[in-house]
Symmetry: C2
Subunit: 324 residues, 2 copies
């Protein structure tokens, strides 16, 4: 990540201060929040919010409460998603669900969502109604996206369009809202706010596609995840859906054999699916799709008047290149 250091430090400090401000009791409610928030996330969404606000001439301090709110919201979704996915690990450490239990994950997640709104309520009064509305819309989209994601796991026929729509809700909506909120808080025009929302949306899509790629083509030491985890779990990612779309004859037979197959060892399954990806060139196709989102972000930024948009373009570039 190439977030300007000042912004990165600011977000870190504010998250730390938030954690310190949490009550001690009941411990089962507040300790998991602190644990999750200090687990070493990238704080990408709040950083984008502050960066957008600054770029468009706003006051960073005005934007801190909604930026923290966005990060708390994101962490609430992680706590509950780890229950849904029955995930043992997050960022290489036990999930709240596994470190504590279902009831703790459920209730501390709920309370974190409420805390997120409590931070949001500290938004300067002038912008509160607008920010509140945008936040709610994005939050609902995230839930809808998560539900579609769950549905697609069981659904046999899922198209690339279904998938892209799903990640636009589950992931990109919060990126879009982050940058839209940054623009609102800088007092930008409605048109510029909408443009920044498109930039955020494109960044979010790019971010998620890169996530899918890193799962297969990344380095475990850098990502902190098991390589091929999505393949082992038969997750319908962009790569797998594209492979399904393109495969014919023998390749089609091979991929059909591998998906849902629990008889082959995980290592062999990953290796054979990767081979198919290679044969069909899905890595290049995914790269092109990502470049399309990069171009979209760039185009949307083009007409915005700020001398500092290069920072954002550089950042978008690093999202394309990221290793973790």
């Amino acid at each position: 990540m190439n977030i300007p250091v000042l912004i990165e430090e600011k977000v870190k400090k504010e998250i730390n201060d938030f954690c310190k401000s949490l009550p001690k009791e009941p411990q089962e409610l507040y300790e998991p929040m602190r644990y999750m928030l200090l687990l070493g996330g990238k704080n990408l969404r709040p950083s984008l919010l502050l960066l957008t606000c600054k770029m468009l001439g706003g006051k960073i301090n005005d934007a801190v409460p909604p930026a923290i709110a966005i990060e708390l919201f994101h962490n609430f979704t992680l706590i509950h998603d780890d229950v849904t996915d029955n995930s043992p690990l997050r960022r290489g450490k036990p999930t709240v669900y596994k470190k504590w239990n279902l009831n703790v994950a459920l209730l501390s997640g709920d309370a974190l969502l409420i805390k997120s709104y409590q931070e949001l309520s500290k938004t300067p009064a002038k912008y509160l109604a607008q920010i509140f509305q945008l936040f709610n819309e994005a939050a609902l989209k995230v839930c809808e996206g998560q539900q579609f994601d769950m549905n697609y796991e069981k659904q046999i026929k899922v198209t690339i369009d279904d998938y892209l729509k799903m990640i636009s809700m589950k992931t990109a909506a919060l990126f879009s809202a982050s940058m839209g909120m940054g623009a609102i808080l800088a007092g930008a025009s409605k048109s510029d706010c909408n443009k920044m929302k498109i930039v955020g949306e494109s960044l979010g899509m790019l971010f998620q596609l890169k996530d899918d790629m890193l799962d297969v083509f990344g380095e475990s030491a850098q990502t902190g995840k098991q390589i091929g985890g999505d393949i082992i779990q038969d997750k319908k990612t962009f790569l797998l859906l594209k492979a399904f779309e393109l495969a014919k004859g023998k390749t089609k037979a091979e991929i059909t054999l591998l998906i849902g197959n629990t008889e082959i060892s995980p290592a062999e399954k990953v290796q054979r699916v990767k081979k198919i990806y290679e044969v069909l060139g899905v890595e290049e196709i995914a790269n092109k799709q990502m470049e399309m989102y990069y171009a979209k972000a760039k185009k949307s930024l083009a007409s915005i008047k700020t001398p500092e948009k290069d920072i954002l373009l550089a950042l978008t570039g690093t999202l394309l290149e990221r290793k973790k």
Copy 2:
């Protein structure tokens, strides 16, 4: 319940309209919300909010969005609490958790909480910041209260004071916020808003104690619940804690024997615990405690200038007498 019919009908209609306004898809997200909201709850909290607003000279329509928000919030807590308590039935029908599954209960509950904030965001701009803040404070108290409730299940020594503090958070905080919000939306003075919060808090305490009583001394046909459910589950209610506090000698031995006992049949356990309650007169003590809250509500109402406070007093009276 003796909520004035006009208010009751208004709330019902608004809840119905809200349900109709929900999207169809994803069905697993929105169908459980509709199911829960139309399960036949008493809509007590939103009714109290509208009633308070009207009593203090406010416009009911201004108060509808936060009233709906409070009811949505309440239903969100029910969906998640039924997971925590592994409850099969709610109002005589399967809980969301049992009718669907954990993931549906988790995510539709989350989305309902967000929908609740989305309704709240429709509060007239003039009152938004104040309403938002009060709502968040109450929402967090509800979560903290729920956590203390869970902790007390495992904790051996729980005092009556612990219990009263817990229900003041888990139950009374939302009643208090409902009436406080009603007052704010009527443009009442800060002092009157605080008085109405105390009335709401007292009503909430009274409501919860009556719930404990109905569990033991009510009629199944009216409450829609299994009589003695709390006794069978060894729930540390006001009655049980009071009995523990007062019991001596043989009675102490008997109650100690019964609690946590899974060898005695549920029917016998209920009957023997009820016998102890009779011997120790805990029903009368609980009645006195409830009358204390009634007096507190009355005192807090006394200095508020409205010709219509009798409606509220009558309502408080019916909460004391309710059979379900």
